[in-house]
Amino acid sequence: MPTAASADPDPAATATPGTRPPSAAQGQSGQDAVRIEGLHKSFGTLEVLKGVSLTAKQGDVVAIIGGSGSGKSTMLRCINFLETPSAGKIVIDGEEIEMRADGSPANRRQIERIRTRLAMVFQSFNLWTHRTLLENVIEVPIHVLKVPRAEAIAQARTLLQRVGLANKEDSFPAFLSGGQQQRAAIARALAVDPSVMLFDEPTSALDPELVGEVLTVIRDLAAEGRTMLLVTHEMRFAREVADHVVYLYQGQIEEQGPPAEVFGNPKSDRLRQFLQSVS
């Protein structure tokens, strides 16, 4: 959590374009960053989410765990409308996303604007392969947020340095390891100074020896008070960094609470079984 005592300014936040209100890192604690109410999602006849409600306050780190097919990734992707929810309500920073009766977004502009406040880190990195790391990081600030080029480049260099890729800014993603690509993807996410970061299994596509370097970066972000929703299979990591853990089972929240409770004293049998199977 950020406190008034933190003397040295956070490099990411100071390099932030002045046009956007300071968020995340300095955000007031206690305000809802993300609120999901009664979220449903069906693919054809298959109901993947059956009414999920979840709230993340500013500065919260919410870990979402669950078996494969439990709907955790789908839930994350519904928040920024990469998947169109079938029903429910999504509120980002107090702004409710306008939805039609069938769940499709009613206002494309609004979605695009809200998406710039959410930053997603994908399982398979999804860096733009025809652009260098620096170009990947400055792309959205320059072309979507209209940050002046020089400013965007300076900020991108700071961010790349922060994730330990200062000397790789001219490399193309295909020539880097998975861990390096994912760290670059995190730098790309930080470049929009998001209110909320969405991590969709950020280490699942990595070789085991590369997982640590990515988790270190995420841990630092959590410590600095970034609001994040983290879908993960790394239970030990979730227990360590999360303020709140949500266990999804077949499209519903089976159990949730502080990590010590959820991991240390699971109430539901399914969660107990799940934790046994993954540890």
Binding site: N80, L82, R108, I111, E112, R113, I114, R115, T116, L118, A119, M120, F122, S124, F125, N126, L127, W128, T129, H130, R131, T132, E139, V140, H143, V144, F172, P173, A174, F175, R188, V192
Partner: protein, 250 residues
Amino acid sequence: MELILETLGLTETAALLSLSSPGWGANLLRGLANSLQIALGAFGMGLVIGLFGAYGKLYGGPILRDLLAIYTTVIRAVPELVLILILYYVGTDLINKLAQFMGYGRVEISGVVAGIWVLGIVQGAYATEILRGAIQAVPPGQIEAARAYGMPALLTLRRVTIPALMAFATPGLANLWLIATKDTALLAVVGFNELTLETKQAASSTRSYFTFFLAAGGLYLMVTLCSGVVFARIEKWARRGQPSLRQGGL
């Protein structure tokens, strides 16, 4: 120079191909310029049609998809020569009828414009398929990342999809461009003064068929060779960031 031509017995040939009258060289070059103009125009028009066509086929509604399927099937089924005759005569006829109906007199249709339209429509059908394949080859995650960061559709197209699909589309488009340069020769049948018709006129006036058609063949070859250099550069640029297949250490 004179001596070399003399010993090779090519004095007469040089005179025929000379750029100044009574040589026909200038006519051939003018024909080549016309051909290139049409090829460029038709290729550009084909790309635009192709991009819309590919998007329509991939993301359009059922009616649009059916219409595009008819377009690409018909255009690719009918021989280009026949298409050119149909589109040229039907097209000019329709425009004239329309002009008369609206109270204008007969309209003189420029050969270049007509040629670009006719070949552009043909090229568009092939470009649609090339670009459709290339769009599908772009990793969906890259487009998804663009959406997730709030890029509107057109910006995504310009900044992500088109640069990414270039790597897959360039070889096919290079083919299409070469076909365009040679399809201009078919416009000779509708009396347009491109390279082939100019060559034919020069040849039949002087009865030196071999000389002139060989020269024309040489010019077409030059176009191809230069295009090859240009497209190699484009492809190298389009494939930046992708490891070379040869680095496998075979």
